[in-house]
Amino acid sequence: MIDAIDWQLLARVQQGLPLVSRPYADIGKGLNLSENEVLKRVARLKQQGVIKRLGVVVNHRRLGYTANAMVVFDVAASLIEQIGEHVSQFSFVNLCYQRPAQGEQWPYNLYCMIHGKNKEKVLQQLEYLKQSCGLLQCKSEVLFSKQCFKQRGALYQMSPDQEKEKV
């Protein structure tokens, strides 16, 4: 179970840990929690899988990874899980999701994200991925990102009365 204090804590931890010797004590002060209480809650939220990961969130673009490709495939429903799990094991694949196809205008159901330092490298990696995962015959498209209009961490706007219904 996740309570109202957990939500406040998640919102705070999402913004980032302060760079001080006792960051959880610091966070606790703002929420009227002891350092120990904060640590217990964070450990539990991680164990529950609510916090998917806790660590350094790198800025790919600043590190020279300016080629960001979303690759979409039209995969047979009977194979999608197996292929999805295979695709996700390649180190250059950042995300791998199944989403619903939308008829002929958008027939794709498997999505993966590849970050690379340039388009050529990304396309090479994609070829390797297609060969390795049996995707050469699948209909696919590569969508490189161009302008970024908005990007922010998923800070959910939860008010206390909404929070009670969740999870």
Binding site: L17, L19, V57
Partner: protein, 151 residues
């Protein structure tokens, strides 16, 4: 320039920052440096925007409901349309991609009905239909992003 310490901090602590009272001290011990070295190096990485933050990434759809959305917008209307979309607080990523579906954004709302309301409103205010692409399954096992520091 990135020092060896900067690189280790970027690569080795994406997944499992120690959940302890003194995480930076723990990192320092594991790397054989001082806590002050770690704090200073992280501060430098943050100041130079190599890292967005040291914090949590929350599992999709555990909190609220999210969906990837796409729109096919004529190029001359793209920026104006992107600005309209950005005004919705439910939008947290919004990108141009090189495709006939050229505007891609992620919506997060508290439940499915509020999500549908926002989608209908975005279609109305922009004048374009959307592709609604919610997550069905997440296959990704995050083992961390290995940064290649060469070239």
């Amino acid at each position: 320039m990135l020092s060896p310490l900067h690189k280790q901090l970027l690569n080795d602590f994406q997944q499992n920052l120690p959940i302890s009272a003194t995480p930076y001290q723990d990192i320092a011990l594991s790397l054989g440096v001082t806590e002050d070295d770690v704090l200073l190096a992280f501060q430098e990485l943050q100041d130079q925007q190599f890292i967005a933050r040291i914090g949590s990434v929350i599992a999709p759809n555990l909190i609220g409901v999210s969906a990837l959305m796409a729109m096919a917008v004529p190029t001359e209307n793209l920026i104006k349309t992107a600005e309209i979309v950005n005004q919705y607080p439910e939008v947290n990523h919004n990108y141009e991609r090189d495709n006939r579906f050229n505007l891609w954004f992620v919506l997060i709302a508290k439940d499915k009905s509020s999500l549908q309301t926002v989608i209908a409103d975005i279609e109305l205010t922009t004048g374009y239909n959307t592709l609604y692409l919610p997550l069905i399954a997440d296959y990704f096992i995050n083992l961390g992003f290995e940064i290649d520091f060469d070239d």
